[in-house]
Structures are given as structure tokens and as C-alpha cells.
């Protein structure tokens, strides 16, 4: 007889669901993607499209094979993976390679571990590592913006001692900073234009989609370590994929720790490993591997680093007025 529904509290829900959060992320990535297409030409657009379409199709196929129904969040998540993957590879990458990478990201890195919410590693980054191992030459061929002449990235120039580590001693260092800031440099499709990435990052921070702790910890650690070891902090922050990695990859909700302290540790760890690879490793750039390694530490951080709960004051302060 009763027509009233009886449920447990709370009886209202926030408007933002996971699909909307993911749409925000896609919107935030668009400025950098558009800048990449402008700088590196139509081939980039084809690659981005191929990567996203492949990711969506792979998502549907995997969900079908696992006997699950696709929900909006699954599809938006695969769009992010496809878009991110195309943005962290060289603009010279052929579209079919991006397609294979996308399928690897969705099927092996994500669905083999249980699908959305259960993957240990960031799918796009793990797929990039897979592609770098499979096609090392193409993945490290860097066309310069506009003229498309291939050249070395700034970090590679530092690594091979063509560019001075302590950039601030060089006469035109301000101009170099500016060129890095507006994206006039060789590099991955979406990582070059710092200003476009920062626009997106501000949007995500304002919408509460990402938390400041991981990007702050990451970027500050990189800056501090480079200053300590005689490299130019501003150059180290702007060159390479740090801005993209810190704001869009390390903050991937699924693969980061959930506690506040844990997020600081994660960010600082990412920064430290990045600099270790840049200074000591064989690769010129370390953001990708740094985040992947810290992804692996995430379950451990979640287990052992637990934030202090209200009312559990340390012994000395217990009952303090």
C-alpha cells in the first residue's frame, strides 16, 4: 500500500558522477592536444583519432568478453586513455602504432587486472613503455614543430652535453624558457606546450578533479633536486613531460594512493625517480618510468601510510585542552 520508498541516508547525491569527472579531464586535455595538432600537423590529428577510437572499441570488446555492461564511465575512461596515449608519444608515430598501443593499454593493462578502478599501472603510461620497448627508433624520433625536421629533445641535448646543464649561465636562457613554455620544441605530441597544459590543470584543480599534493610534490622535488645538483630548475621543469605527467598522469585517480600523506609521498617519489633517471639513467627523460614505478608502490603506501583519524592524537597530546 505504501508508495514511499524507504532507503538509508543520505537521501541526496552530488551531481558530479564519475563520467562527468572524466569529461572534465578530457576538456582539460583539449588545449594541449589542439596545440599539438597545430604544432605538428595533420598526422597528429589522425593519430589522436585512431588512438581514441581503438581505445573505445577495445573497451567494448573487453567488457563484452567479460560479460559486463558498458557504463558511461567505462567509455569516458577509455577516451582519456586513448587521448593521453596519443599525447605522450612522438608526433612521428604512425597511427597504427598508436592503435596497437591503445589496445594494449585497455586490454592488458586495464582489463586484465579487473577493469576500471582495479588496474595497478596507468594504462597510457604502461602502453607507452610497451611501445618504447617494441619500436625504440620511431618512438624516439622527434620532429621539430612546424618545419618537421627531426632533431633531439632538449633533455637529450643536455644528456649528450650539447646543451649546458646550468642553463642560467647562457646568454639567451630567458628565450629558451619562453620557447619551452609556448611549446616551440621537439617532444611528445601533447607535452610540449606548457601553457596549454597549465590551463587544463587550473581547470581540473578548480573543479576539484585533481588534488594539488601530487603535482606539487612532484614538481617541487624535481626543481629542488635539479638546483641541488647544479642543473637549471626552470629548464628541468619545463623541458620533457613533467607538466603533463605531474598534472594529468600522476594524478590518475585509480593508480595513486588515497591518503593525504600518501599522495605527498607519491608525488615526491615520482620527482626523485624522474631526476635519478634524467641524471643517472640511460634515458634522457624519466617521467614515464617514475610514475609507473610509483604506481607499483601505491598499494604499499595505501597499506602503511594511514592518515591520522580525528580523535587519535599522539600519546603525548592525548586529552590536551
Amino acid at each position: 500500500m505504501s508508495t514511499f520508498s524507504v532507503t538509508h541516508a543520505p537521501h541526496i547525491k552530488a551531481k558530479e558522477d564519475s563520467a562527468l569527472i572524466m569529461k572534465y579531464t578530457v576538456i582539460a586535455l583539449l588545449p594541449a592536444a589542439i596545440a599539438g595538432i597545430y604544432l605538428f600537423g595533420l598526422n597528429s590529428l589522425i593519430m589522436i583519432a585512431g588512438s581514441i577510437i581503438a581505445a573505445i572499441l577495445a573497451e567494448y570488446l573487453m567488457l563484452f568478453m567479460r560479460g559486463k555492461r558498458a557504463i558511461a564511465a567505462d567509455i569516458w575512461s577509455s577516451i582519456i586513455t586513448g587521448l593521453l596515449l596519443s599525447m605522450i608519444v612522438s608526433p612521428a608515430t604512425p597511427w597504427w602504432m598508436a592503435v596497437i598501443g591503445s589496445v594494449f593499454a585497455i586490454s592488458i593493462v586495464k582489463h586484465a587486472f579487473g577493469g576500471l578502478g582495479f588496474n595497478i599501472f596507468n594504462p597510457a603510461l604502461a602502453a607507452r613503455a610497451f611501445m618504447l620497448a617494441s619500436w625504440p627508433v620511431i618512438m624516439t624520433t622527434w620532429p621539430r614543430p612546424i618545419d618537421a625536421v627531426t632533431g633531439a629533445t632538449h633533455l637529450a641535448l643536455v644528456k649528450t652535453r650539447v646543451l649546458e646543464m646550468s642553463l642560467w649561465n647562457m646568454p639567451d636562457h630567458i628565450n629558451t624558457y619562453w620557447q619551452l613554455f609556448i611549446g616551440n620544441r621537439a617532444g611528445c605530441l601533447g607535452e610540449t606546450t606548457a601553457i596549454a597544459l597549465l590551463l587544463g590543470a587550473i581547470f581540473l584543480l578548480a573543479k576539484g578533479v585533481i588534488d594539488f599534493r601530487i603535482p606539487c610534490g612532484f614538481i617541487l622535488t624535481v626543481a629542488v633536486i635539479s638546483a641541488l645538483f647544479g642543473s637549471d630548475p626552470i629548464f628541468q621543469v619545463l623541458a620533457g613531460g613533467l607538466i603533463l605527467g605531474a598534472f594529468f598522469m600522476a594524478t590518475d585517480p585509480v593508480t595513486k594512493p588515497i591518503g593525504r600523506t600518501g599522495r605527498w609521498i607519491f608525488g615526491i617519489g615520482c620527482g626523485a625517480i624522474t631526476m635519478a633517471i634524467r641524471f643517472l639513467g640511460g634515458y634522457p627523460e624519466g617521467v614515464c618510468y617514475a610514475i609507473l614505478i610509483m604506481n607499483g608502490f601505491t598499494p604499499m603506501i595505501d597499506r602503511y601510510v594511514i592518515d591520522r583519524v580525528y580523535g587519535h592524537l599522539p600519546a603525548g597530546r592525548q586529552g590536551k585542552r
Partner: protein, 417 residues
């Protein structure tokens, strides 16, 4: 602006009734007065056929933590039987048919808080006389009056602060005297500055009004203490462990009224709002059925889908309209179809919104994971018992998980053991 860590800003929805004067509700024909309205259930002192008058004690208990109940009308007891309780279960209650004459049982000389039947009127329903007699070794230095009213829709405390500032101040002074505290703080969210302005002229020595950030759950006991005093109630402890007593403004008002008139608590202010034609702040006799209150407010507007006693964050849904209101009922909220949706729980994407919003800094997603997998002890180990059940985690979860429900389950399983 003072506040606590975590919490979220909610749409207040208070405009429907905010600032509306308190209206006396239509006289109920029948009242159903629950014997369990604060602490241990009472034993009935009347039987079917007895005639009772307003203020007559109809139930009492010899248990320490219990508060007596009184008739809110004059008339005849028709039955003592189970009735739906606002907490969602059925429990024994006294059915009284009103004769409409409202004859009083007369004032009691030097009425005590216990004899006045006063309980926490913000929803807690804890017997106030127990709260006001802390053990000697617990020195109370501050009495906090809770005028935050952080739940959406509810405006009964707001209306009371606007209309009865003197009673509230007198009640606060009474509480301060009885626990020997020399400081009184009234915490009010900054969306109710008019209420703060009304109270200000009646401030006396040692009493201060503090505006708090409008944020849910600012009126949670532990959150309020932290916001005002930066003290943390130790886990498993009570406010008196950090020298505080927290009381609702409604409770202070009830104490002052009973001291002035010598009459026990038989009525209170309730907000009837949501999908009703004429949302109001009503002065309601305890035991009035919610159906009568909704009719009093012009009936439903639109199709009612949920009837909630309390606010939308912590309130309890009712399956029918014959539930009577209790001393601690703050609000009758009707939600129509537009405001009720059912969601399917998805898997966690670890976005941390629940972690960042949790006012006691728990990790609700992990607690819920453990509870869902029946690992209740694990959930207890990482703090399930510290959960204040405010509902923020379920509200904010973008994957629509019913986090607080799972945490409550873990707590209930622990209690059973």
C-alpha cells in the same frame, strides 16, 4: 571564519522556510507518544481508559540513562501498543485521544531537567539531565550551544533563535551554572547572521557568539568542538573528556521554558518542508502524526516519493504517514520524484573525494571495501568506529557507492559480537 577539517558545501534548500514565523500547528485529534524517547525505554504509568492532562507523566524508568515522557494533550488513553517509531522500527507507545480542552496537569515546583523530560533536541535524543551531571573528575570549562543547523532544508533552530533569543540565553546560563562552566559559546553558521544579530543584545558575561563557515557537518558535535576550540574529542570519548558540553539551541530553549513555566517538555518546533504546498515552521505537540502535519501544511505538492524525519543527509525514511513525531524530531521532509533517484553502485575509481571530504579523516572507500567483503575486523582496525555517519562519503561518491551504509554495517556487526 572558524571551521573543521574536511566537510563539503551543500545546497541549503532552506529558503522554503527560512525566516518564516513559527506557527502553532493544528490541534491533533490523536497523539501517539512513544515510551522510548531518550535513553532506556520507559514503563507506561497509565493504562487504556485513563484520562490524562497536559504535562502528566505517562511513562518513566528507573534506569540511570532514561528520560520520562509526558502527555501533550488532555484526553483519554485509548491503547498502549506498538507504533512506528521515527527511528524506523516499531516500539511501544501510548495512544491518547484528545478531548480538545487542553487542560493542564499544573506546574511542578522547582522542576528538574529530568522531570521535565528534556532530551537532546537536535536529533540525538540523549537525556539532558545525564549530560548535565558529568562525573566530578571531568572539569567542564565550556558549554557550547549548537546553532549551526548544517543539514539542508531544516530551519527549526533558526526560527527558534529568531523568535526566542531570551529563552535560549536563559537556557545556556542554566546549563553553565549546573555544570560549573564559566564560558558559553554559541556556534552559528554564517548563513544565519540574522539569528546571531537577534541573540547578540542578550549576551552576558562569559557568553560569546561565533560565526562558523557554512559547511556540512558543522553542527556535528566533534566538528563543532574542533571548530570553536581546536580540541579533539579522543576516540571513543565524550565531549566532557575535553572539558566541553555541547547542547542544541532547542534543548537550551526547552530547559528555559520548563524552568519558567514549571511544565515538562510536550511540544517543540519542527520544520515541515520539501514537496508540501505550504512549507512551515510549526510548534508541534509531541506525538502528532506526520500525516496531520503534512495536511496542516496544505498537503503534498506533486507526487511524494520519500518521507524523511530529519534532514536529507542523516534523516530516516518513513514507510507510512502514521509515524508520530518525537521530542528529537527536527524536520519532516517530503521529497518528490524529481529529488529521488536510485543509482546502481559502480566500482570505486579511487578518486579520493570521500577521503578529502570526511570530517573525521577516514578512508571511507577502504572501510566500505572491507565491509563489502565481510572483513569487519579490518574495517574496525582502520577506524570504522570513529565514523560519525554524517553521510558525506555516500553523497559525494561519483561512482554512487553507498559508503556510509557499508560502514554502518561494519559497526553493527562489531556491536553484535
Amino acid at each position: 571564519m572558524k571551521t573543521f577539517k574536511g566537510g563539503i558545501h551543500l545546497d541549503s534548500h532552506k529558503e522554503q522556510t527560512a525566516g518564516k514565523p513559527i506557527r502553532v500547528a493544528r490541534e491533533p485529534k490523536t497523539v501517539v507518544i512513544h515510551l522510548s524517547q531518550g535513553g532506556s525505554p520507559c514503563q507506561p504509568l497509565v493504562k487504556a481508559g485513563d484520562s490524562v492532562r497536559i504535562g502528566q507523566k505517562i511513562g518513566d524508568s528507573d534506569k540511570l540513562i532514561s528520560s520520562p515522557v509526558h502527555s501533550s494533550v488532555s484526553g483519554k488513553v485509548t491503547a498502549i501498543d506498538n507504533a512506528p517509531h521515527p527511528n524506523g522500527f516499531d516500539s511501544p507507545a501510548v495512544y491518547i485521544e484528545s478531548d480538545g480542552s487542553n487542560e493542564s496537569a499544573g506546574p511542578i515546583q522547582n522542576i528538574s531537567v529530568r522531570e521535565a523530560g528534556i532530551v537532546g533536541m537536535g536529533g540525538g535524543s540523549f537525556p539532558t539531565h545525564v549530560k548535565l551531571s558529568p562525573p566530578k573528575e571531568k572539569k567542564i570549562d565550556t558549554v557550547i550551544l549548537n546553532g549551526a543547523e548544517c543539514e539542508p532544508y531544516i530551519t527549526c533552530d533558526h526560527a527558534l533563535m529568531l523568535e526566542e533569543p531570551i529563552s535560549i540565553m536563559n537556557g545556556l546560563t542554566y546549563i553553565m551554572k549546573s555544570v560549573g562552566a564559566n564560558r558559553g559559546l554559541i556556534g552559528i553558521e554564517d548563513n544565519k547572521r540574522d539569528a546571531a544579530a537577534k541573540l547578540t543584545p542578550y549576551l552576558s558575561m562569559g557568553i560569546h557568539i561565533t560565526l562558523l563557515q557554512t559547511k556540512y557537518p558543522e553542527g556535528g558535535e566533534k566538528q563543532l568542538i574542533y571548530a570553536l576550540l581546536k580540541r579533539e574529542v579522543p576516540a571513543g570519548g565524550l565531549p566532557m573528556d575535553v572539558g566541553c558540553i555541547v547542547s542544541n539551541v532547542g534543548t537550551a530553549h526547552a530547559i528555559a521554558v520548563s524552568q519558567r513555566t514549571g511544565m515538562p517538555l510536550t511540544e517543540r518546533v519542527i520544520t515541515v518542508t520539501g514537496a508540501v504546498k505550504n512549507p512551515s515552521n510549526l510548534r508541534v505537540k509531541v506525538g502528532t502524526r506526520i500525516g496531520d502535519l503534512i495536511n496542516d501544511c496544505g498537503g503534498f505538492s506533486g507526487t511524494p516519493k520519500k518521507i524523511i524525519l530529519g534532514g536529507p543527509m542523516m534523516g530516516i525514511t518513513q514507510s507510512a504517514l502514521d509515524t508520530p513525531v518525537a521530542k528529537c524530531t527536527t524536520c519532516v521532509l517530503v521529497l518528490d520524484e524529481k529529488n529521488v533517484s536510485l543509482y546502481e553502485e559502480q566500482s570505486c575509481i579511487r578518486c579520493c573525494r570521500c577521503v578529502d571530504a570526511c570530517p573525521v579523516q577516514l578512508a571511507p572507500n577502504f572501510l566500505a571495501d572491507y565491509a563489502q567483503n565481510e572483513m569487519y575486523q579490518k574495517a574496525i582496525d582502520i577506524g570504522a568506529m570513529d565514523c560519525i555517519e554524517c553521510g558525506i562519503c555516500s553523497y559525494i561518491c561519483p561512482t554512487r557507492r553507498e559508503l556510509v551504509h557499508w560502514i554502518k554495517l561494519a559497526k553493527a556487526k562489531k556491536a553484535k559480537k
